[in-house]
């Protein structure tokens, strides 16, 4: 049973699948099974799975010298997805299946000892890789499948199915359903000011800090924020689903257009938040790409961790550099943070007495956010609502109504930018460049003087003034007004980050 064959597999690197040629040579020599070509432990283990799966599926495991070479050999290969290509190459090399059926096909899948196939993380990345190579993809039948234009995706349930490999079943990806949000603002009674603030934030992509006693509804409000954002575009769907697929998370809600909402716990490590590990996995900020990152208990996060997400927030991607090269993950998200107002949490709570001293409160509030504070434009105080209002759940303004205004404001902002002849850059879109903000506001002399005096009273820094102006610009966009008026300015001032918070 001597012979050789080469089959196409792939391994993940970042969010990309890199094609790997799996070459198998069965020759005379001491019986053995070895894998060469920078295979990591998970790939080395596949020898045992392949051996067992082959026998269980009624194939013969050759008792000769078997060498598997994974090319290019300079690339570190990882993951159990190479089980299937190794097994298939072995079968083709020994003539147990027709060598023709492996042509122009990319195989990905993990084998069980009984010969069944298990799906692996990153099926979308593999699909895109297969399309690039213009082959069809063969994967486990249970994989999460995304419709990719111009790609034939074939499902395999168990290894024995390779006997009739010519007529493998084509799997049809389920049609993505329209976005239906489980969490709607309608369920939130009261909190009208908070809803307004989140609406502004959604319209202008502003970072929000919510402060309020425990149980006042910060998490409830934040988790409904994705329902205010416009549904994902096709391009965004693919980008976001790719990251989630690589991380092994479910992608169905994303394909239906829902923006991701990520809520890492405050004990999260730097690697967990920005990505890392070996093999490199996307972090929470990348999983929140095109969606919302919610940092609850912001003051409990480690300063070094927050410092780590600051730079990716500016560039919209995170580039992780390791000894064997760098990988970059996209990370463009909306930041929502929440914090208690004081160490005991009950400052401003009508039902509990706060037991903190003023210096404690000052120190606590000053520590909130740390390096992230200059990414936060809106400050929102969330108050516990009266029990009577809580019972009125289901009567609040619905997400749909709120979203319509957000969409209109975004459309208006796009029009205004074109009208002003501003570059359609991301920077201009998010109202970030200082000169651009001031120009786009068209403040009257009176209003400018009013802002100046308010800034003086509140001791606002230059950056704080810019952030207020940028929020005012968004509020004016919601009112479809070309100029920022006094009402817009005052509302923005009401949502300013209070002096003494985070500094």
């Amino acid at each position: 049973m001597y012979g050789r064959c080469s089959v196409l597999g792939a391994t993940l690197r970042g969010v990309k699948a890199v094609p790997v040629d799996v070459e198998v040579a069965v020759s005379s020599g001491l019986p053995g099974f070895s894998i060469v070509g920078m295979a990591d432990a998970s790939v080395q283990e596949s020898r045992e799975r392949v051996r067992a799966a082959l026998r269980a599926s009624g194939f013969q495991m050759p008792s000769d010298k078997i060498v598997v070479n994974l090319a290019p050999s300079s690339l570190r290969k990882t993951g159990s997805g190479l089980d299937l290509p190794i097994a298939v190459a072995l079968l083709a090399a020994t003539g147990q299946i027709d060598p023709e059926v492996v042509k122009d096909r990319l195989f990905v899948g993990e084998l069980s000892l009984e010969g069944f196939l298990r799906p692996v993380a990153g099926s979308l990345a593999f699909a895109l890789c297969a399309r690039e190579l213009s082959c069809s993809l063969v994967c486990a039948e249970g994989s999460e499948i995304v419709a990719v234009d111009g790609l034939e995706q074939l499902g395999l349930r168990f290894l024995g199915g390779m006997r009739q490999a010519r007529d493998l079943l084509r799997i049809v990806p389920p049609r993505a359903r329209e976005a239906a949000f489980d969490l709607d603002f309608r369920d939130v009674a009261g909190h009208d000011v908070a809803k307004r603030a989140l609406q502004i934030a959604a319209a202008g992509n502003h970072g929000v800090l919510m402060m309020g006693p425990p149980g006042s509804g910060k998490t409830m409000l934040a988790s409904r924020l994705p329902s205010l954002l416009p549904p994902l575009t096709e391009q965004e769907k693919l980008e976001t689903a790719l990251i989630h697929s690589v991380a092994g998370e479910t992608i169905a809600p994303i394909l239906s257009g829902q923006r991701p909402f990520r809520k890492p716990h405050h004990s999260a490590s730097l690697a967990g938040l920005v990505g890392g590990g070996s093999p490199i996995r996307p972090g929470e900020i990348s999983l929140a790409h095109n969606g919302v990152l919610f940092l609850d208990e912001l003051s409990e996060f480690k300063g070094s961790v927050l410092q780590g997400i600051r730079q990716p927030m500016e560039t919209g991607e995170v580039r992780l550099t390791r000894a064997d090269g760098s990988v970059s993950f996209p990370a463009r998200f909306m930041l929502v943070a929440a914090s208690n107002p004081c160490p005991c949490g009950h400052l401003g709570d009508e039902e509990h007495e706060c037991t903190c001293t003023l210096p404690q409160i000052r120190m606590y509030q000053g520590r909130i956010g740390g390096p992230l504070m200059d990414r936060i434009d809106l400050h929102l105080d969330v108050q516990r609502i009266a029990p009577g209002e809580v019972m009125a759940t289901g009567t609040g303004t619905s997400s749909e109504t709120l979203r319509e205004e957000v969409l209109r404001a975004r459309e208006y902002a796009d029009w205004r930018l074109r009208h002003d002849g501003a570059a359609e850059s991301e920077e201009a879109r998010s109202n970030r460049a200082p000169s651009g903000i001031v120009k786009s506001c068209h403040l009257s002399a009176n209003d400018a003087a009013f802002l100046e005096s308010a800034a003086k009273t509140h001791g606002m820094s230059g950056r704080a003034i810019m952030r207020t102006l940028s929020v005012a610009r968004t509020i004016a966009d919601m009112g479809e007004s070309l100029d920022v008026g006094k009402a817009h300015l005052c509302e923005a001032l009401g949502f300013r980050v209070r002096e003494g918070v985070g500094s």
Partner: protein, 337 residues
């Protein structure tokens, strides 16, 4: 902010034994009078007519503003301001007296070399340097233990002819000072607050029990007249040192643009204050509730929410209203700063 390790107050030190001529006679009337008084600064100020100004440590801007306002008014009339040197209202009263150039005395719970709270050491040093005194019945190095603070309240109340409670919860140390004042037969004055505000419950209760309510500058000056016999006309003399706007305010007229305390301007008798300002003056209110109030307050035909944002921004800019650390908006009673 905090005192460096080993930092002590500088200034002349004296130990006054009970029975000495230098022992303030008013302290003879308190329950178990101290055997000795340990004083840093000028011991003579202990003989001056004194007003105790006490209030909550965790004071609201309202309480602190009142402490500052009335301590200053009394200080301008030559009355010595006595307090406990604690955070919040106490510290504000001392500061106001220092700014008015009057003497002030801080009674500490622990010994004078173990000042508490430590961040106030600079304030105590200023008190000593400006002719006031820092006093205690404990040995110099006595630690600031809780029971000592309760005990020193009787000295604060005892040495003063009258005790002004600017803000007190229920129960509280401040409230116990009022009890001590009643025990020695001193006058008790109290500044009322909103009945819904927990931080004013003690002061309001005192008024119900017969304390003299201090509802504006005028009633305070009347009380001073009753207790110390300072004539109202002295205002004018003391007022020479004040700005023009301020002496006008003291005479009951409200100058344009002056940062008069909204809650205390009832005597203006002029146009009624606008309802939003009146509501905010009564107690701090959160945005959600203000939003509901705006529906009724906003002029017809105007969008309530934008009307509210504009009004709040304007009130904040003029310093009438302030945003508290818990996000609520409330009165910035800070008229004489």
């Amino acid at each position: 902010m905090t005192a460096r390790e080993g930092e002590v107050l500088r200034g002349p030190r004296s130990v006054i034994k009970r029975g000495d001529a230098a022992f303030p006679p008013l302290l003879e009337r308190v329950a178990s009078p101290p055997k000795e008084l340990f004083v840093i600064g000028c011991p003579d100020v202990l003989f001056r007519p004194a007003l105790a100004v006490v209030g909550a440590r965790k004071a609201t801007p309202y309480g602190k503003g009142c402490a500052r306002r009335f301590a200053r008014l009394a200080s301008l009339r030559g009355i010595c301001i006595v307090s406990g040197g604690a955070r919040g209202c106490d510290a504000e009263a001392h500061r106001a007296a220092l700014e008015a150039g009057g003497p002030t005395v801080a009674f500490l719970g622990g010994g004078c070399d173990r000042v508490y709270p430590p961040e106030n050491i600079a304030l105590f040093q200023r008190i000593v340097e400006s002719g006031g005194a820092v006093a205690s019945e404990r040995e110099w190095g006595f630690p600031p233990v809780p029971y000592a603070f309760r005990a020193r309240n009787r000295l604060i109340a005892g040495i003063s002819q009258a005790t002004l409670i600017v803000e007190a919860g229920l129960p509280s140390g401040t409230f116990s000072t009022a009890d001590e004042a009643l025990a020695v037969g001193a006058e008790v004055l109290a500044v009322p607050g909103s009945i819904t505000s927990a931080s004013s419950r003690g002061a309001n209760r005192l008024i119900a029990q017969g304390a003299t309510p201090i509802v504006d500058d005028e009633s305070f000056l009347d009380a001073l007249l009753g207790v110390y016999g300072c004539l109202r006309q002295e205002t004018a003399d003391a007022g020479c040192a004040l700005g023009a706007g301020e002496s006008q305010a003291l005479q009951g007229r409200r100058p344009e643009g002056a940062h008069g305390g909204p809650a205390l301007s009832a005597r203006d008798g002029g146009a009624a204050p606008e309802p939003l300002l009146a509501a905010l003056s009564a107690e701090p209110i959160g945005m959600e509730r203000l939003c509901a109030l705006a529906e009724t307050f906003a002029p017809a035909g105007e969008d309530a929410w934008s009307w509210l944002s504009v009004r709040i921004a304007e009130l904040e800019a003029t310093g009438l209203v302030r945003r508290y650390p818990d996000g609520k908006l409330g009165p910035a009673v800070d008229p004489l700063v």
